[in-house]
């Protein structure tokens, strides 16, 4: 039997020990009406060989395409060592390290991860990860409501320049707790948060301001001003960052003139997680020390054993659901341990210099792509704010239709924004990471030029 080691002798001897005749007898406390189950619609078992072939064929169907889509998930080179090590059975098949003495590998990895994350963000404390960037933002919002005792309003200022899906997730997870989200518009010229829209909330009871850096449009926000605005208005500053960008951009721990952002979250995917159609990724959450006891999720601490040797344990567990139950900081139990392992190895291999070179290459490639694309008649940048590694371009044609044709020709040209923003019809969010060569950029430019020419001709 696949994955069941019992021989016929084993079964008989075990049943005899238990004192029943059949395995079915062991279910005799269950109402008979419940025990007549049909699984007719589930296929019979397939051999590993058959499933291997099926999956090989299906994976091949999904392969290929030159990808210029970003929008929250980025194609980066992941060193081969990362997943060869991460999928070692001792990491892959271990449980949550509830018995620390038997889990020092996992625990030390998380401690190293926490150290790296605080280094990257300039924050005091990092947790052991959350599910993904979007749900991490939701947890940060809940945390801010707990941490900002002066605010009674449970009011979060949520800029429109935050990833639309992140805004939806934060709303869906937090709405049941009476938290309100106030939209802050973006500046049509710069693509940044509209500071006039923000000023409307000066003097009001605001719990927290969310500050994306870079924002969804790829544009860099004026994080110092925004952080100062929030903190001078009694609000916490919640940064939402791309961790890769922090190799070159000012770390949230230094945003503003005070002590930096209060809480920082982000999508960890650029640090070693494959695109994989959306997951598993991992959510980063860091905060200032004073908020640590409001932090959701697992945390690993260093301590000592009976002989005075250093070792690692899960700590601050009284915040968590398995101890505090209905009074926990979150219902979160699982973190993304395997992804954290990959990220820790990834960051160890790249180091600060490798991350910086990667980030700078992404920026340079995107600048170069934008230059090539905007040479095409009618293609232009929408915003003039400085970008990180993504840019919104306007096309002289229906963006969705153009992207579909490009995809048929093997180029995934970006994300059409018309569905997400009024006024951004015919726009595309494009990204060229370090994985793209000059030749790749030219392929995109030539393909777009051709498609637009055909569209113009047809029109």
């Amino acid at each position: 039997m696949p994955f069941i080691p019992h021989t016929e002798d084993d079964i008989q001897s075990m049943l005899a020990t238990i004192g029943v005749d059949t395995i079915d007898d062991l279910f005799d406390e269950i109402d008979p009406s419940l025990r007549d189950v049909s699984l007719d619609t589930i296929p019979a078992r397939a051999s590993e060989q058959a499933v291997t072939r099926l999956m090989g064929e299906r994976a091949a169907r999904d392969a290929g395409g030159l990808c210029f889509i970003g929008a929250g998930a980025y194609e980066h080179h992941i060193p081969a060592a990362v997943w060869e090590l991460t999928t070692r059975g001792e990491f892959y098949s271990a449980y949550t390290p509830y018995q620390p003495e038997a889990s020092q590998g996992t625990l030390q990895v998380v401690y190293e991860y926490q150290t790296m994350m605080t280094g990257l963000t300039g924050m005091d404390v990092a947790n052991a990860s959350l599910y993904d960037g979007a749900s991490a933002l939701a947890e940060a919002v809940l945390m801010a409501v707990r941490a900002n005792r002066k605010s009674k309003a449970s009011r979060i200022l949520m800029p429109a320049s935050v990833h639309p899906f992140y805004r939806q997730v934060a709303h869906n997870i937090c709405a049941n707790q009476g938290i309100t989200f106030e939209a802050i518009d973006y500046d049509r010229t710069t693509g940044r948060i509209d500071t006039h829209a923000l000023e409307r909330w000066a003097g009001e009871d605001v719990t927290a301001l969310v500050i994306p850096q870079p924002n969804f449009f790829g544009v860099l926000e004026e994080v110092d001003t925004l952080t100062d605005w929030a903190q001078s208005n009694g609000a916490l500053a919640i940064g939402v960052v791309n961790p890769l960008s922090l190799a070159v951009l000012k770390e949230p721990g230094r945003w503003g003139t005070g002590e930096g952002a209060d809480i920082v979250v982000g999508e960890g995917q650029p640090l070693g997680a494959p695109l994989a159609s959306g997951g598993p990724y991992f959510g980063i959450l860091c905060c200032r020390k004073k908020h640590v006891r409001q932090m959701p999720g697992r945390v690993v601490g260093r301590t000592q054993d009976m002989d005075g040797r250093n070792g690692y344990v899960l700590t601050l567990q009284p915040r968590e659901q398995h101890i505090r139950r209905s009074k926990a900081t979150s219902n979160i139990c699982t973190n993304q341990g395997l992804l954290v392992t990959a990220a820790t190895i990834h960051m160890s291999l790249l180091g600060a210099q490798g991350l910086e070179n990667t980030a700078a290459t992404c920026i340079a490639n995107t600048r170069s792509l934008v230059a090539k694309l905007t040479e095409i008649d009618g293609v232009e940048s929408v915003f003039d704010g400085t970008a990180f590694h993504e840019t919104v371009l306007r096309l002289p044609a229906d963006a969705g239709a153009v992207l579909n044709i490009l995809a048929e020709r093997g180029v995934f040209g970006g994300l059409a924004l018309a569905d997400f923003y009024d006024g951004l019809d015919n726009t595309v969010l494009v990204c060229a990471t370090e994985t793209k060569t000059e030749a790749d950029l030219d392929i995109y430019a030539q393909a777009l030029r051709a498609v637009l020419a055909e569209q113009a001709e047809a029109a």
Binding site: L275, G279, G301, V313, G337, L355, A364
Partner: protein
């Protein structure tokens, strides 16, 4: 055997150069005020340093691939390697989540079929795969229950009933959804006290969250009555799938009357635990909650070879409670679950419950015969059961922790201890179906040997573990003197 921190291998200027671009192009257009000035606190290491360090660290772990891991309520079963290998095929790994679905039909076909299989094996009407872990599955379930009541204008229902033996995530989730928690006591047999339940339900009852079999390792004998009570009061029933392994293919939550269920695919469908995740908390819904499923769900157009698949969004499910992750949950985990489900097939799923239950009852019987006390000696074990070491504690001052730590020395991961909270000196033991009789026998031998050691000299247990990389760690000091990062890192990274 311990291992230095990666930061202690770091030397200024060292790099694993092959793995990243060699140079950083100038990025002059970014204003200085937005640029980073201080060093990034990452280690500077060679590829060899990194490979050695993390290889050595991995060896400090217990894992399913190396040890018996009878951790109750965690279903530490064998993780077939094919699941990882096949989910890691380049075509799956390299696909962008927002790439056109025309270039994702392989993935979508797998997810659609997984939805169908999970729907069938749980007896529900439909499944959404998007929740990223059990706790998010629970959130999804309660949020749907709330949305259901609100859609009917029945919005005063704000109480979630939770048995006192429940996982901590249950009450925590109820609160996250803006509900109050009403605890329901357990009777002497380990079942929900139905009289107390009758008293507890009211027009404020939104629903009840149940694990069945419960965390006490027994199947709720009155489940049909419970369903009747709660439904009768206008509430809905939520099934916490943490213990689904006990009944997979054998009994279906949908048939018991549950309106919603989450499944821990990282337990029952054997996706890796990964040292704490990723998980996957797919939810199945009955007809009352179908309209409220979280998106995206995979839909199919057409039949047979001509079928195509696409994401269903709010346009298709207008009452959805919405999106709970940036993209599609833990897709890679779902692929692993899909491979496992195909390798099992219908018959294999039923065998999961049967052999998990056989192993559990066998181990329970053997331990009882060896002189250990069961929390519910008159009940069948489900896929897990509880030993209470209360007597040992009283007689020799040997705690569940002491026995657990000593088991580590014997090469067995400890069972879950001190949960459920209501059983004193509790050992919650779940062997799973993938362990052999010999392994279970060896575990019993170890328990007997440890008990003999305790009788001879209890300090042997108090000093345990002695064969592990570290001895017993001071968790109190850890919480008091928080040391959550290595402080020289930033300096080293200079």
């Amino acid at each position: 055997m311990t291992e230095k921190l990666i930061f202690e291998y770091s030397r200024p200027g060292r790099r694993a150069l092959a793995q990243a671009p060699a140079e950083a192009p100038a990025i002059d257009d970014i204003p200085a005020a937005l640029r980073r000035e201080s060093p990034v606190g990452l280690p500077q290491a060679s590829e060899m340093d990194v490979v050695r360090h993390y290889t050595r660290l991995s060896q400090l772990n217990f894992s399913i691939d190396t040890h018996f891991y009878p951790l109750g309520s965690c279903t530490m079963k064998h993780n077939p390697r094919a699941c990882n290998t096949l989910a890691s095929l380049p075509g799956f790994l390299n696909r962008h989540p927002l790439a056109p679905t025309s270039h994702g039909q392989g993935l979508l076909a797998c997810l659609y079929e997984l939805q169908e299989m999970l729907t069938a094996v749980t007896g529900m009407e439909a499944v959404s795969l998007t929740p990223m872990a059990g706790a998010q599955g629970e959130f999804t379930g309660v949020a749907m229950i709330k949305a259901y009541h609100e859609s009917r204008g029945d919005s005063a229902r704000d109480e979630i009933l939770v048995p006192d033996a429940a996982h901590g995530t249950n009450p925590a989730t109820a609160v996250m959804c803006g509900c109050k928690v009403v605890e329901i006591p357990t009777d002497a047999d380990g079942d929900v006290d139905t009289a107390a339940l009758r008293d507890a339900v009211s027009e404020r009852t939104a629903g009840i969250m149940l694990t069945n079999p419960s965390t006490l390792g027994v199947f709720e004998q009155d489940i049909l009555e419970i369903a009747e009570i709660v439904h009768g009061a206008g509430g809905l029933l939520y099934y916490d799938g943490a213990n689904l392994n006990a009944i997979l293919g054998k009994v279906r939550p949908g048939d018991m009357g549950f309106d919603v269920i989450h499944m821990n695919l990282h337990k029952t469908f054997s996706t890796p635990h990964g040292g704490g995740g990723p998980g996957s908390g797919a939810v199945g819904v009955g007809k009352r909650l179908r309209d409220f499923m979280p998106i995206p769900v995979v839909g199919r157009d057409g039949e047979g070879d001509g079928a195509t698949y696409r994401w269903l969004t709010e346009k298709d499910i207008p009452h959805t409670i919405g999106r709970l992750s940036a993209f599609m949950g833990n897709s890679g985990v779902l692929l692993r679950a899909y491979v496992y489900a195909r390798l099992l097939g219908a018959e294999g799923m039923t065998r999961v419950a049967e052999f998990a239950t056989l192993n559990s009852n066998y181990l329970m019987t053997r331990l009882r015969e060896a002189g250990f006390d069961l929390a519910f000696p008159d009940r069948r074990a489900s896929h897990e059961f509880i030993v209470t070491l209360k007597r040992q504690k009283q007689q020799l001052d040997v705690s569940a922790t002491d026995v657990a730590k000593r088991l580590l020395d014997y090469g067995f991961h400890a069972p879950t201890i001190y949960f459920p909270l209501l059983v004193p000196e509790c050992f919650l033991i779940e062997p799973t179906e993938s362990e052999s009789k010999e392994t279970l026998d060896a575990f019993v031998d170890a328990m007997i040997a440890i008990w003999d050691e305790a009788k001879a000299d209890a300090t042997t247990l108090k000093n345990a573990p002695v064969n592990l990389p570290v001895r017993r760690l001071d968790e109190v000091a850890a919480a008091k003197n928080l040391d959550l990062k290595h402080d020289s890192a930033t300096a080293i990274g200079a």
